[in-house]
């Protein structure tokens, strides 16, 4: 069985190499980071990850170069909206050679899988990642049922 696993591992390792080769093709054609998943083209901004930790939902969004003051988060029941502006940060007195980092305002809304307690939501912005900790509302929390 152990040898089997090693075989599978080898195949996966080879696939990693292959994927990196394919991705480096993008570099060759001078295209930039456009998705955690390979080959994804059309953009939703910001990209997010949502995970479920039992009592909470955790949402992480990629918002590099956005100030705390320029971000708004709106929650109602299981509806969540993240909006904001990414202000241009081009320095004064420099000539511009290349601009790939767009500055624009953005807005994205989600339907969360559960209702959340809007009063207890915590949001932190660190290293260009917005983290939202969304406690599920009492009714949606997992509960231990005692058997009679």
């Amino acid at each position: 069985m152990i040898t089997r696993l090693q075989d599978i591992n080898q195949i996966l390792g080879a696939m990693d190499l292959f994927r990196n080769q394919m991705n480096s093709m993008f570099n060759t054609f001078d295209r930039t980071y456009s998705g955690g998943r390979d080959w994804s083209m059309a953009e939703t901004y910001p990209r997010t990850n949502l995970s479920d930790t039992g009592d909470n939902l955790e949402l992480i969004a990629e918002v590099p170069g956005v100030n705390k003051e320029d971000l708004q988060v709106k929650i109602q029941g299981n509806y969540l909206e993240i909006s904001g502006t990414r202000k241009p940060d081009n320095p004064e007195g420099y000539t511009v050679h290349r601009t790939e980092r767009e500055s624009a305002s953005f807005s994205r809304s989600f339907t969360l899988p559960y209702e959340v307690d809007a009063g207890k939501v915590e949001a932190t912005l660190k290293d260009g990642l917005l983290k939202l900790c969304l406690p599920k509302s009492e009714a949606a929390k997992p509960r231990q049922i005692s058997i009679q």
Partner: protein, 127 residues
């Protein structure tokens, strides 16, 4: 060892390297008389995971993102990744004075020009 000998060997598990997917970060490039300035988006990358190597006219910028994910995933639109990009750097850059700061997931890399390369106004004297 004879030349005709064929050695069959299998890859050992210790040799396997699980590489992060690699992508080029989006960058802005600016220049003034004193320096070239580069802004690169690297959301979620920590300071210690960034490396800048300048060698032989090439600069390799690399930043690893390792996310701490908890719980079960409902959806994933981004993953752990290595942001890597290679730039050609002109000879006029003073490599020893290159410095960078990281703020809000944006790396600002300053590449100062060496004194000799800075533009200079030449006075023309009347003969």
């Amino acid at each position: 060892m004879s030349e005709n000998e064929i050695v069959a060997r299998t890859e050992q598990s210790g040799e396997l390297v699980h590489q992060l997917p690699v992508a080029a970060p989006a960058v802005d490039v600016y220049e003034n008389d004193a320096e070239i300035l580069l802004h690169a988006d690297m959301p979620g990358v920590l300071k210690d995971d960034i490396s800048v190597n300048i060698d032989n006219g090439k600069m390799i910028l690399s930043g690893m993102r390792r996310l701490q994910s908890t719980g079960s995933a409902n959806w994933r639109e981004f993953t752990d990744i290595e942001f890597r990009r290679t730039f050609a750097v002109p000879q006029s850059i003073d490599v020893n004075k290159v410095h960078a700061e990281l703020k809000d997931g944006v790396l600002r890399l300053h590449l100062p020009k060496s004194e000799a390369a800075k533009p200079r106004r030449i006075e023309i004297k009347a003969g």
